[in-house]
């Protein structure tokens, strides 16, 4: 099973090479995206076969690559299969989208070679079975995505984004390097099998956890390691943004799960506290950042941060339950987290596709300059709306299911003996609920300001519906959002082997439950039936429509907007993104962002416009990153003087070194 997957990765690499070879850009585009589409679909099939297939025994292979005396080891177990499926699905859709989207790419030469390489990197990460292969593919993934972020390098912001991204990426990788050094021990047992066999002291295990949080967390976008994400994801071409936000962050989650749940053995209870706290903070901070944005793609990127937080809350709960031997509850929490991984990869990719479509048809990413697109791009608007509803966790779509499961998991936590967790978990639950509600607000803003209302600029006037490939990709994912929402049972059952392998238990089989509803623990406790809810809503809506149109009037007249008597023709009087967020900014922003509003209103009779300005600070950057930057440049400035000494002074440095060493010898015992 693993060999064909590797073959697909090899094909992708070959495609990258091909992209360099083919001169004619158009053909290159068709070849690259076509090949990527086919290959990733093949990967998807392989992954699904491995996940649902008859044989649950993982298949492994060792190639004579990498560390010579170790070889490059690959293994496809349930966990890898699930994440491989996520990667492949996202990749397939992105490739399909890009077949149309790529036509608008200003600098295809900088995208085409790296795109398949990026896909290959991501799919090999989840297959790697030794530290070296894992890190190589991990960093290869970062590197190729970096190249894609730098695709539009003439925009200074993108260059900066790429820079921050690369530094954070290598920072994370170095953390993982240290971590594997700890796991592998001095004589280098780098194979995951050896690591599993090995035993770690409590301190070492804790260090591993922290390093894993830094390494995987920085890639996934955990606050406060998230700073690169909202810069880099929007900078890339949209189909790549979709992959980075929807898929690459999931690969990072895979890394964390693989290390902490699989390699590290049984957890200690306080680990989960760290993970939970980080997850909660990340969720709320992410969505608050998002609310303050008016760049559509950046808003989406910040929402990725939020969802990563939700996923880590699930993982933290799973750790907590596992630490106390509550296998069933752990299974529930882990399932919730993994299901959310899948769901988020779907609707986040969908939303980025939509943003890409808007970007290509208007050339705008700034919501303040858009509006009214629902009239010009109705289909895009529709699928984007589905995505918004899904990510806002509205039933009967898929985003709700995973959040519901997470809540159910939280409700199991009072049985946990340790007090710290008992106090932390409800607080995290509150944070989760808060972030969900804020997410809804944020996406009302995103959709409302971008697609509804009146067009604000000429660019928005010119918008046209996007091409059919992009639409196909988007509709595919929109449909998936609905299917995963109304029939979650199948997906939960599909996750059973993964969860079984990690925490030694699984949720009750959902396929047995009548009416296709899902039951976390027992029906008496709680159950949810997306299908029925969906049908009811459909039914009652249709009923109402039928009744009204049949029994009452169905007459309709178009007229100017009423607007309480004083309509204003100027679109500028509409609510903008920032004005929409103003109430929430007043509530949370003053604390979280030190948001300061000031208004200078000219006194009556003075003919000059009133000014309103908001000033917000990113406290995370100010507190953590600015000092580091300052420190480094200070040290660099100081040391730089050593470049400008006279030869004599250099000689005296040599002389000093000599005397010093001789002194050492003199006092050597």
């Amino acid at each position: 099973m693993v060999l064909p997957a590797l073959a697909c990765a090899a094909v992708l690499i070959a495609t990258a090479a091909l992209a360099l070879a083919i001169q004619d850009v158009t053909r290159a585009r068709h070849v690259v995206y076509g090949m990527s589409l086919v290959t990733s679909s093949a990967l998807l099939v392989i992954a699904l076969l491995a996940l649902l297939g008859v044989s649950q025994t993982p298949s492994a292979v060792t190639l004579p690559l990498g560390i010579p005396w170790l070889g490059a080891r690959f293994r496809l177990d349930a966990l890898s299969a699930f994440f491989l499926a996520v990667v492949a699905l996202g990749a397939a859709a992105a490739s399909l989208f890009a077949v149309g989207y790529g036509r608008h790419e200003p600098s295809p030469r900088r995208v085409l070679p790296f795109y398949p390489a990026f896909l290959a990197g991501m799919s090999v990460v989840v297959l790697a079975d030794d530290a070296f292969t894992f890190l190589v593919s991990w960093e290869f993934m970062s590197l190729s995505s970096w190249a894609l972020v730098m695709a539009h390098h003439r925009v200074p912001d993108n260059v900066r984004a790429g820079y921050v991204y690369l530094i954070m990426a290598s920072f994370g990788t170095l953390a993982l390097l240290l971590m594997f050094g700890l796991l592998a021990g001095p004589d280098g047992g780098y194979a995951f099998a050896d690591i599993r066999a090995g035993q770690l002291s409590a301190g070492a295990a804790a260090a591993v956890l922290v390093l894993a949080l830094i390494g995987a967390g920085s890639k996934a976008g955990l606050v406060p390691l998230h700073v690169w994400l909202p810069l880099a994801h929007p900078a890339a071409p949209s189909h790549v943004s979709a992959l980075m936000s929807g898929v690459m962050t999931k690969v990072a989650v895979y890394g964390f799960v693989r290390i902490v749940f699989d390699l590290l053995g049984t957890p200690v209870w306080w680990w989960s506290m760290v993970v939970l706290a980080l997850g909660g903070i990340t969720a709320v901070m992410g969505v608050l950042y998002a609310l303050m944005q008016h760049d559509l793609k950046r808003l989406l990127a910040y929402h990725t941060v939020e969802n990563i937080g939700i996923i880590f809350i699930g993982l933290g709960l799973a750790l907590a339950f596992r630490a106390h031997g509550m296998a069933l509850a752990a299974a529930l929490a882990l399932t919730a987290a993994l299901l959310h991984v899948f769901n988020h990869s779907i609707f986040k990719s969908l939303l980025f596709f939509g943003a890409g479509a808007v970007l290509t048809s208007t050339g705008e990413r700034d919501m303040e300059r858009l509006g009214g697109l629902i009239h010009r791009m109705p289909q895009t608007a529709f699928v984007f709306l589905v995505g918004c509803a899904a990510i806002s966790a509205l039933p009967p779509l898929n985003g709700f299911v995973s959040e519901w499961l997470t809540f159910q998991a939280i409700l199991l936590s009072p049985q946990i003996p340790s007090w710290g967790l008992r106090l932390l978990v409800p607080a995290v639950g509150a944070l989760l609920a808060l972030s969900a509600a804020l997410a809804a607000a944020c996406f009302v803003k995103a959709f409302g300001v971008t697609f509804l209302g009146r067009t604000r600029t000429h660019a928005a006037e010119q918008a046209r519906e996007t091409d059919r490939f992009s639409l196909a990709a988007m509709f595919l994912f929109a449909a998936l959002c609905l299917v995963a929402g109304v029939l979650p049972g199948f997906f939960i059952d599909a996750l059973a082997p993964v969860v079984q392998g990690l925490v030694g238990a699984r949720m009750p089989a959902q396929s047995g439950v009548e009416w296709l509803s899902i039951v976390p623990i027992a029906e008496s406790r709680s159950s949810y039936n997306g299908l029925l809810v969906f049908l009811f809503m459909l039914l009652s809506g249709a009923l109402a429509a039928w009744a009204i149109h049949r029994l009452a009037s169905d007459k309709l007249r178009r007229a100017p907007a009423w607007d309480c008597g004083y309509p204003d023709a100027n679109p500028a009087t509409q609510y903008t993104a920032s004005s929409f967020a103003q109430p929430i900014r007043r509530v949370f922003g003053t604390v979280v962002f030190r948001a300061r509003e000031q208004v200078d209103m000219p006194s009556p009779g003075v003919l000059q416009p009133a000014r309103f300005s908001v000033d917000m600070r990113d406290l995370v950057w100010d507190a953590l990153y600015a000092p580091v930057v300052g420190g480094v440049s200070f040290a660099a400035e100081r040391l730089n003087h050593l470049q400008f000494l006279t030869i004599r002074q250099f000689l005296s440095m040599v002389f000093a070194a000599l005397v010093l060493l001789l002194l050492v010898l003199a006092i050597w015992p």
Binding site: A441, V533, A561, Q574
Partner: protein, 318 residues
């Protein structure tokens, strides 16, 4: 037999909420008027309003999109489904297992989501005011609701409303601090969610103070009718929610006889009347607060809910 019974109960319930909702609204108005020593409209007024609106033609703003026209039906559907899954006079609803407390909250959330979008659709400033404030209120009200769910669910050991109600009917609950806090929080949320004084004023059209009315400003005819109907269903939902969780007595247990059914219905109507009266009393005895006091109000609700949950996490007996 039981299934038939439950089916009947379910069907009855769906009709009941649909029909009772305007009545409750009318009742509250009437009581308020009386408390203000006014005559007040007859109880049937809301029905008349709805009927009139239904018959009128829809006047649609020029740049209103398809979303604007679909939203009322979505809102209505979501609210109706939610309302018909809350035990009103009988615990044993046929489909109660298909959606638990959290789902009901989420359904109301989706209704709000589309209402807010509709508010933005025409692109007027008032619509914007309405939806942005609505979402701000919701962003605090929803977590508060979730905290309340946690509290009750931890006591009852389930998030199924009917199971909760059944459990709370049973005697072994006793008086609990946490439940008290939850009740208080729930009432605050209910007031906010239904755009009642002091959070919002359903009767006003004083632009700068209104939230819900500002969102529906552009609606007319049947659309407006649907939205008004869903609004009053929402009010009914919250009242019956409070009723079934905190005054569950008289609820018909599963497999009850027809006689019990009658009792249940009567009890329910009594509860509604009491709830409506109290609401009216409260509204007449308090002034509307500024919009930016609302977060503090709801923040308090959230804190109460969190406190209740924490108490339960600390000790199951509180």
């Amino acid at each position: 037999m039981a299934v038939i019974f439950e089916l009947v109960v379910q069907g009855l319930q769906m009709l009941l909420v649909l029909l009772m909702a305007p009545l409750l609204t009318g009742f509250v108005r009437k009581v308020k008027a009386r408390l203000l020593l006014r005559q007040g409209p007859p109880l049937s007024q809301p029905y008349r309003d709805l009927a009139r609106l239904m018959r009128k033609e829809v006047v649609l703003a020029e740049n209103a999109s398809w979303l604007f026209r679909v939203s009322p039906y979505l809102i209505f559907a979501a609210t109706w489904v939610a309302a018909s899954l809350v035990p009103t006079f009988g615990t044993r609803l046929l489909f109660s297992w298909s959606a638990d407390f959290i789902v009901i909250i989420a359904l109301l959330g989706s209704a709000r989501f589309f209402l807010a979008l509709a508010g933005l659709d025409v692109g007027t400033s008032f619509g914007g005011i309405g939806s942005s404030r609505e979402m701000m209120i919701a962003s605090l009200a929803e977590p508060a609701m979730i905290m309340i769910v946690f509290t009750v669910a931890l006591v009852a050991g389930s998030t199924q409303l009917s199971t909760m109600a059944a459990f709370l009917v049973s005697s072994e609950v006793g008086l609990r601090v946490s439940l008290g806090l939850a009740l208080f929080a729930l009432i605050m949320v209910a007031i906010a969610e239904n755009a009642r004084i002091p959070v919002d004023n359903p009767a006003t059209h004083l632009e700068l103070t209104m939230v819900h009315e500002a969102m529906v400003l552009e609606y007319s005819g049947r659309h407006l009718a649907l939205i008004e109907l869903s609004a009053s269903m929402k009010l009914l939902l919250y009242v019956s929610l409070i009723a079934c969780l905190f005054v569950p007595w008289g609820l018909v247990p599963s497999g009850g006889a027809v006689a019990l059914l009658a009792i249940g219905v009567l009890a329910y109507i009594a509860k509604l009347a009491a709830g409506g009266f109290l609401l009216a009393l409260f509204e007449t005895s308090i002034a509307k607060m500024r919009v930016f006091r609302v977060p503090e109000f709801l923040g308090a609700a959230l804190m109460l809910g969190l406190l209740a949950t924490l108490l339960l996490f600390v000790s199951r007996s509180l």
